[in-house]
């Protein structure tokens, strides 16, 4: 493994590839070698650099200089000027003042942040994600070796249960207990599935793990399969994550070649086959039962529960489904022990949590911090404070399906239990920070528009409820609603929460309920006064209500 002084990242999302990103990448490889910089400069690819108009994009660290759009012919100049002579190529710089938050995590590779504690991200950005030797050198497959040679499946689950690891997909279900459920089922055929369909808006923690440390997922799934008695596994990767898919496939291939996957892993009589399955762009396929339907080749619609996947999963067989971040925690727990893990976080929620900070803060990006940190700390320490010194108004957690956290709750410790007590949810780990210039009606409208578009259409309350709730917020934002509509909203929210088939519908009610709970005055101002207090909504009173709900 090498330590490079510079790192060159070439975007390789589908659009970039269409515009010739692969040629750019190849050219970089050639030019770097030609300049004799092979030992000092690392070259890699990233997916989705964030700006459409600047693709293909090339980002060079540690300067965090973003060039784009870059053509093959520009490469020689960038290598010559930037990498060799240390000068920015001003005319090729992308027209962005600062980098999109979605790649900001790399800025923090040096671990300069205060309380940051990296467990799942400890290798991301430090090792070559396409080199199994790099991974092995960094404690890779030590946990698997320990599990297979020293521990029985039951002992692995014991360690996991003692560690108190909770599912990081949003619900926070104790991982060890889930493993025990699946291990306790009878039957020769079981499956393990990694849910890597990270589709919550603004959430990209899993992508960074998958792209930066793909072997960790392969290793964790192998441990999981050993523990629950499965012999086949799937990694269901979001369709847009092409680089992640490529790296996972590569990792699986290499693991096979090293005898770490396939028949008789590490010479034991334990065998496992892993498959990478690409999603096709449906948000709802991140719901575990819809994900299973999708793997089975059906339309991605959540199943009814119970029965749960732990007993009736993939093709009706017991199936363990875990999120990427949950799985990434497993190998370090096995290597270092449950006690080690419990020293991070809070007693009820041990360990760390990754968050993507977005919105009106000075610094946006991905962090991994111990559970129990407060929102105020995250904004002030990691977000470097609110942008333009504006006042914090609210934060929205967990992509779309999280909660709205008003300023009054910003000192609540961010762990599953405290948040549950406060009536909010931690969600998947996105933190959309909003200042006083954000209109709650507008925010709720955006969120509900997302839900109504991504609703699978299976169950009535969600299909019609999300559509209706969106329409009401749309009317409020246009000044065409009346106060009774707010009652309708609450009624819709109640049914969404109570009667929907899956989590999508149940959490679609949250923005409705939270908006009216914490910011009712602001919503009513739209209706009573015909004014949007933040000036975001364009109220047009002249037209009569077209779709009055009451």
């Amino acid at each position: 493994m090498k330590f490079a002084r510079s790192m060159v990242l070439v975007s390789n999302d589908p659009e970039s590839l269409r515009r010739g990103a692969q040629q750019v990448y190849d050219r970089f490889a050639k030019e770097i070698a030609a300049h004799g910089l092979g030992e000092e400069v690392a070259l890699s690819q990233i997916s989705d650099a964030g700006r459409f108009d600047t693709l293909p994009m090339v980002i060079i660290y540690p300067e965090a200089a973003a060039y784009g759009p870059v053509t093959e012919n520009d490469v020689a100049r960038i290598v010559e000027e930037h990498l060799y002579k240390g000068r920015l190529v001003e005319d090729l710089l992308a027209p962005v003042r600062e980098l999109s938050g979605r790649i900001g995590w790399l800025k923090m590779r040096k671990g300069a942040m205060p309380a940051e504690k990296r467990i799942v991200l400890r290798r991301a950005g430090r090792i070559d994600p396409e080199s199994i030797e790099d991974y092995i050198a960094e404690e890779g497959f030590a946990a698997l070796a320990k599990a297979l040679t020293e521990l029985s499946p039951a002992q692995v689950i014991d360690v996991l249960e003692k560690s108190g690891l909770q599912g990081r997909g949003g619900a926070g279900f104790p991982a060890g207990r889930k493993w025990r459920f699946v291990a306790g089922t009878a039957g020769p055929k079981k499956y393990v599935v990694c849910n890597a369909d990270e589709s919550e808006p603004g959430t990209f923690k899993d992508r960074v793990i998958l792209e930066g440390d793909p072997y960790a997922i392969v290793e964790a799934l192998t441990i999981a399969a050993y523990s629950v008695g499965a012999d086949e596994g799937f990694i269901y990767v979001r369709g847009e994550y092409q680089l992640a898919q490529h790296r996972l496939e590569h990792a699986i291939e290499q693991a096979h070649a090293y005898g770490l996957l396939g028949k008789n892993i590490m010479g034991t009589n334990f065998s496992l086959e892993l498959h990478v399955h690409s999603g096709a762009g449906a948000y709802v396929c991140g719901e575990e039962t819809a994900l299973l339907e999708s793997i089975e080749g059906k339309r991605g619609e959540p199943r009814a529960r119970p029965p749960y996947p732990t007993t009736h999963g993939l093709w009706g067989k017991p199936t363990l489904v875990n999120n990427v971040e949950t799985l990434a925690n497993v190998p370090p727990i096995l290597v270092n022990g449950a006690e080690w893990y419990r020293q991070f976080g809070t007693p009820s929620s041990p360990g760390t949590k990754t968050y993507t900070i977005l919105g009106n803060v000075n610094f946006t990006g991905l962090i991994e911090v111990p559970m129990g940190i407060t929102l105020r700390e995250i904004i002030n320490i990691y977000g470097h404070g609110m942008k333009d010194d504006a006042t914090f108004k609210m934060a929205q957690t967990g992509g779309s399906s999280g909660s709205i956290i008003p300023a009054s709750l910003q000192d609540t410790p961010m762990d599953f239990e405290s948040f549950r007590k406060a009536g909010v949810s931690l969600g998947s780990g996105a933190l959309l920070v909003c200042d006083e210039r954000t209109c709650v009606v507008d925010l709720a409208k955006v969120l509900l528009n997302f839900f109504r578009t991504e609703c699978c259409g299976k169950c009535t309350p969600c299909r019609v409820g999300t559509e209706r709730s969106y329409l009401v917020f749309d009317q409020i934002s246009k000044g065409q609603a009346n106060l009774e509509d707010l009652d309708t909203l609450l009624k819709l929210a109640e049914q969404l929460e109570q009667v929907s088939n899956c989590g999508l519908g149940q959490t679609a009610a949250v923005p409705v309920r939270d908006t009216l709970k914490y910011f009712r005055a602001e919503v009513e101002a739209h209706i009573r006064l015909g004014v949007c207090p933040t000036g975001v909504c364009h109220l047009t009173r002249e037209s009569a209500p077209a779709h009055s709900m009451a």
């Binding site: 009535t460 299909r463 019609v464 929460e497 109570q498 779709h547």
Partner: protein, 666 residues
């Protein structure tokens, strides 16, 4: 068994029962929309939500398995409120203006559910989005504006007919029922089985022929059996004012559980053949209407002198679409009374005679039951096109395809199953038996058989068969391996295999069946689809020999409602004297000397023996037109007039002969 409490009623149900079914059993009604007893539970509409002690939120009863000690409430105020809200959402979602809908007023599950929740209006304004109306299909219309997205039609299409034509396009509120990849229904892969229409709870799928002809309450419903082929599907004949308005599959029928095909559901209603409503006698070379008395006396006058003349008297042919009673009377009259040596069926035994002879020699049935298809993991179809005929038998195979059933089709001609089969073996014409031999040889050669292999030079047989059939060795190998590795294989054959009258093909098939374990001491995994509705009954009554005119002076044909083939019409038209008993005008009736009008399927009752030996009764759903008599009555009248005494022991006659498959005649 698990015990649970529903609305304070305790009930015991088998494990795996859903709460909804348990409630039904306990006599507790739970409203539903997307549920259907014959379809996989879906849990979409959420109308059947119940409160379960210990559950955080209400849960759909249709998908919830009952568990020990569960305490369920179905009628709390909160649930009622939720149900009203769900119905309000559904009503407001699309165009559900009841007064304009053909199912309004009792036939709409959505409307009925709303009335049950004491709703007379819904509190939300409708959402004015227009969805497409698909009117391209010949038999029904799809109006997405009246759809509640319950997916009953989608599930019916997949789970009943196994056709997988209907699906959902788009997501959320934009979801819409589409055929294939959103092509007009009339141009889609739809096979017009109509299961979707029968399953639709609203007016989204309406049958063109019966739409706006009245509400169900003004209709009369008669349970009967479809007589269009030997499968013997249970039907419900919906009539009004002595007209058949609609035919539905009988959900409770053991053979088909509600499924029908186009032939059974739609085609009988668009029959445009001309009905014969009065007896006719040929006078001066022209058929002229006559009274029954005149016509019958004319027949008696010509036939009576021929009684007792075995080879030069009356030849007689009966349709296998007529009830057993009619066939038995026919046989009694012409075999017993007239002593004719030419009494047979219009099928002439092509679909059954070879099998029956083999079963007779065997002294035991050689065929099993259709039900085996439900659990089969591999099916071989030879000499039959289940896409065109005996379609419902084909549905039983098609619907299992997603479960991984392996399908092998051997048919030199184009077969509707070619596209879905794992192996569609297209051999040279008339080499079906060689294909079977080749498969057998592979299994013998590789020692894959379950039973002792016949002694043969496998390599030579294989080489010879490959040469004759012109098939690729890899296809034969693949098919052989698939068959040999199946746990519950079923072999289906049609008359294509046996029509030649040569029993060799069938013998090879049966040998192969034993070799792969399709036939053993516990099961007989071989079925033939036979011919018309009473094909097997004709075989049992020995009305199955090939027809020869010999020196017969007259021919009596009980044609029933069939239309004879051109060839048959030509052959029989040459008879010196021809009596045709039929429902519809055809080429043959045009050539007859006397035509006697008989009732059709809906107008008479009688028994039918389906392809796997199940005796079923059809019922009379409408009255025959004036001047038309039931077919058995016509024969009885004739017997009476010529002095032949008919026995009514048709059931005994039916079981006399050793049967191809075990009979269930009780």
């Amino acid at each position: 068994m698990v015990n649970l409490t529903i609305n304070s009623k305790e009930i015991e149900v088998p494990e795996g029962t859903t709460v909804l079914r348990a409630a039904e059993k306990a006599g507790v009604f739970i409203p539903t929309l997307c549920d259907h007893p014959q379809l996989t539970p879906y849990g979409g509409c959420r109308l059947c939500i119940v409160e379960v002690k210990g559950f955080r939120v209400p849960i759909a009863a249709c998908t919830l398995p009952a568990s020990q000690g569960m305490v369920v409430e179905t009628e709390t105020p909160a649930l009622k409120k939720s149900r009203q809200m769900i119905l309000s959402l559904l009503f407001s979602e699309r165009n559900h203006f009841c007064p304009f809908c053909q199912v309004s007023g009792g036939d709409c599950d959505l409307q009925n559910a709303a009335y049950r929740e004491e709703m007379t209006s819904w509190p939300m304004q409708p959402n004015w989005t227009n969805f497409p109306v698909d009117t391209t299909h010949k038999y029904f219309i799809l109006d997405n504006n009246r759809c509640i997205l319950c997916r009953r039609c989608v599930r019916a299409c997949a789970e009943m007919s196994g056709n997988f034509t209907l699906a959902i396009e788009e997501r959320g509120a934009k979801s819409m029922i589409v055929a294939d990849c959103n092509v007009p229904l009339g141009e889609s892969s739809c096979i017009s089985c109509g299961s979707c229409v029968q399953s639709c709870p609203t007016g989204a799928l309406i049958d063109r022929q019966s739409a706006y002809l009245g509400h169900d309450e003004s209709m009369v419903e008669t349970r009967s059996v479809c007589t269009n082929c030997s499968v013997g599907c249970g039907i419900k004949v919906i009539t009004r004012n002595n007209h058949v308005v609609r035919i539905e599959g009988d959900w409770d029928a053991p053979v088909n559980n509600g499924t029908l095909c186009k032939e059974g559901r739609f085609i009988p209603l668009s029959d445009d053949r001309k009905r014969i409503t009065t007896p006719m006698v040929r006078k001066n070379g022209k058929l002229e209407p006559a009274t029954w008395d005149v016509a019958m006396e004319s027949v008696v006058e010509h036939l009576k002198p021929l009684a007792g003349k075995e080879h030069d008297g009356v030849a007689a042919l009966v349709s296998t679409r007529l009830p057993v009673e009619t066939m038995a009377a026919f046989k009694g009259l012409f075999s017993g009374g007239f002593k004719s040596d030419q009494v047979t069926s219009l099928e002439e035994g092509f679909p059954t005679a070879t099998s029956a002879a083999l079963a007779e020699n065997n002294g035991a049935p050689i065929e099993g039951k259709l039900d085996m298809l439900r659990n089969a993991d591999c099916v071989l179809v030879i000499g039959a096109n289940l896409y065109d005929r005996h379609e419902v038998a084909g549905f039983l195979i098609k619907r299992s395809l997603p479960k991984g059933i392996q399908l092998i089709v051997i048919d030199p001609k184009e077969n509707g199953f070619d596209d879905i089969a794992h192996y569609a073996l297209k051999a040279t014409t008339d080499t079906d038996v060689d294909v079977l031999r080749a498969i057998e040889a592979v299994i013998v050669k590789e020692g894959l058989g379950r039973t002792a292999a016949p002694i043969m030079d496998a390599d030579a047989v294989l080489a010879d068969a490959l040469k004759k059939t012109g098939l690729a060795a890899k296809d034969i190998l693949g098919a052989a391996h698939t068959l040999a590795s199946a746990i519950a294989p079923v072999l289906i054959y049609g008359k294509g295999l046996t029509a030649s009258g040569n029993s060799e093909s069938l013998e090879v098939l049966l040998r192969l069946a034993r070799l792969i374990g399709a036939v053993d001491s516990e099961r007989i995994g071989v079925i033939s689809v036979k011919g018309e509705a009473n094909s097997l009954a004709a075989s049992q009554l020995r009305l199955d020999k090939q027809f020869k005119m010999n020196g017969h002076k007259a021919v009596y044909v009980a044609l029933g409602e069939g239309t004879p083939s051109k060839r048959m019409a030509e052959r029989l038209g040459k008879a010196p004297y021809l009596v045709v008993q039929a429902s519809y005008v055809s080429e043959l009736t045009e050539k007859a000397d006397v035509v006697l009008p008989g009732a059709n399927w809906a107008e008479q009752e009688g028994h039918f023996l389906n392809l796997d030996g199940r005796l079923q009764k059809t019922n009379k759903s409408i009255e025959a037109p004036d001047g038309v008599r039931e077919n058995t009555a016509v024969l009885a009248d004739l017997a009476n007039r010529v002095g032949v005494i008919l026995s009514d022991g048709w059931k005994e006659a039916l079981v006399e002969r050793p049967s191809i498959t075990a009979l269930n005649v009780n």
